[in-house]
């Protein structure tokens, strides 16, 4: 357990959703400026920058030049897809604790939505340009990540005897949170009936099982606990982190769909923090699909395997429930900026800035990131008290 905790002192979130007129680089630059200003710092104070970008966008480490950052002591792109945000914060934490850098900004931005088109096409491109073995799967019909997550979800549902209504309970629960989140893209109430009426994307996934697609950017400032004392915001301490990359081999006895990297990464992050799941007030979980939320809660140990669906159906995860989860609506109902979605909501709640959706007990949070088809997992444990 570290004696000192790296400290998050600011965050920035641009307008998100159907926002046009900027590319990913522009959103990233805006998010960095917002985060630095929120921290009570200026760009000249920044000596480290970590950039996470989706391939095919114009965002990369030359963002430092866009911002006019000079004499950086840490600059890199980091990419483990949806796990990147947690991994960036962990890398930034190690850098400030070692003295390699003092003030590190971590940023992600994306621009998949174009005017007059949907956004999903941006996420199909990598499948469709496949050659070799993988192109045989594309030719068979696996043309998007939705198909592969549907395989995982179907296997999980079959194994634990779950139905669409169990997945729907997650969509309904998270929409209830989004109603009180002014930045959420989906702010009209949702019933289970409406969930069932939403079209199939790839059965067993309905449209409302799938995350949104958003343009926008988010950035987070990490510094030393000493520096944080002089800054205006409630400090948020990075108490623990973990990663896990299962390297699933798709053959007999594979755990694919049933157990994810969260089962390794979550306990590792909690152990570093000196906590157990019982110490966690807030669960901000990467929810690219309703299914992903359920399997992650189980792998983290908030309930037994196959039991998260009953938690969702009972209302425990929803406003007023005993285990507040994805309190801004998550990627399903708020916005989709990879791992920044759960991280930004955790910071908002920990700092007590959640407005009408603010949780009363908000001293600790667990934040997850999930990348690829459950291939990469990152976890953060954050708290307003240091170790």
């Amino acid at each position: 357990m570290p004696e000192r905790n790296a400290t998050i002192v600011g965050y920035g979130l641009t307008e998100v959703g159907k926002v046009f007129g900027k590319t990913a680089r522009g959103f990233a630059a805006e998010a960095v400026r917002l985060a630095v200003a929120d921290a009570g710092l200026s760009l000249g104070d920044v000596d480290g920058l970590l950039v996470n970008a989706r391939a095919g966008t114009d965002l990369n480490l030359t963002l430092a030049r866009t911002l006019g950052l000079e004499n950086l002591r840490l600059l890199s792109e980091i990419n483990a897809f949806g796990a990147s945000a947690a991994i960036m914060i962990a890398q930034a934490s190690k850098a400030v604790l070692s003295g390699e850098a003092e003030t590190v900004v971590c940023v992600f931005a994306d621009d998949p939505k174009k005017q007059n088109t949907g956004g999903a096409h941006a996420y199909r491109a990598s499948s469709l340009t496949a050659t070799g073995f993988r192109s045989a799967e594309t030719a068979a019909g696996f043309t998007s990540v939705n198909h592969r997550y549907a395989l995982a979800a179907r296997r999980y549902m079959d194994h634990y005897g779950l139905t669409s209504s169990h997945l729907g309970a997650v969509a309904v629960s998270q929409r209830a949170w989004a109603l009180d989140n002014p930045v959420a893209q989906m702010r009209s109430p949702l019933t289970l009936d409406e969930y069932h009426q939403s079209r199939w994307v790839v059965e067993p996934l309905h449209l409302l099982d799938c995350c949104l697609v958003s343009n926008g950017g988010a950035a987070v400032v990490v510094t030393t606990p000493e520096r944080a004392r002089d800054l205006p915001n409630t400090p948020v301490y990075v108490r623990g982190w973990g990663q896990a990359h299962p390297g699933y081999v798709l053959e007999r006895d594979s755990d694919f769909g049933l157990v994810t990297g969260a089962a390794i990464s979550g306990p590792a992050a909690l152990k570093m923090a000196g906590m157990t799941v019982d110490d966690i007030d807030l669960r901000e979980i990467y929810d690219c699909y309703t299914y992903t939320l359920l399997v992650t809660l189980e792998d983290y140990g908030f309930c037994g395997k196959g039991e998260a669906a009953e938690l969702a159906a009972s209302g425990a995860l929803a406003p007023g429930g005993t285990l507040p989860t994805n309190t801004g609506g998550g990627q399903l109902s708020s916005f989709y900026l990879w791992g920044m979605t759960p991280l930004i909501e955790a910071l908002t709640q920990l700092r007590g800035e959640g407005g009408r959706r603010q949780i009363r007990e908000h001293a600790t949070a667990i934040v997850s990131g999930n990348g690829g088809i459950l291939d990469h997992h990152g976890t953060l444990v954050l708290a307003t008290n240091s170790a």
Binding site: L128, S135, A136, A139, H147, R154, V249, E251, F256
Partner: protein, 127 residues
């Protein structure tokens, strides 16, 4: 939209075999483990000394999903566990619903040829 299978240097023997009507897998010359055709490192012993071996083409469904947006009609896609152990992500032909292919449904190989692109392995219900 339709997409074609396109060979590259590594996959050329695989697609050649399919064109000849055979599905081939990777077999480890050190430990004998049989892996997926795209295996480059044995999943059992990490050896990179692999050879090609034929598959029976018999398998069972691990997980099946339905793409309702595919044209002209919905397609059933699945992970199939071959008798030799590897899983292939492919299509189940001549079925229309998920209930046609519950877990453990026996299927058998049907190599499917296309005007554009390489022949690929698909499956039909084993009856």
């Amino acid at each position: 939209m339709k997409f074609s299978a396109i060979r590259d240097e590594t996959s050329a023997p695989y697609f050649d075999a399919l064109r000849e009507g055979r599905l081939i897998l990777r077999s480890c010359t050190r430990c004998g483990h049989i892996g997926r055709p795209d295996t480059l490192s044995c999943s059992s012993c990490h050896s990179d000394e692999l050879t090609w071996v034929g598959s029976t083409g018999d398998g069972v469904v691990v997980s099946a999903v339905v793409d309702h947006a595919s044209a002209p009609e919905p397609t059933v896609l699945a992970l199939v566990e071959l008798r030799e152990g590897p899983w292939l992500a492919s299509r189940i032909l001549d079925v229309a619903t998920a209930s046609d292919v519950p877990v453990c449904t026996p299927v058998r190989l049907r190599i499917t040829e296309f005007v554009d692109g390489e022949a690929i392995p698909m499956f039909v219900l084993a009856t």
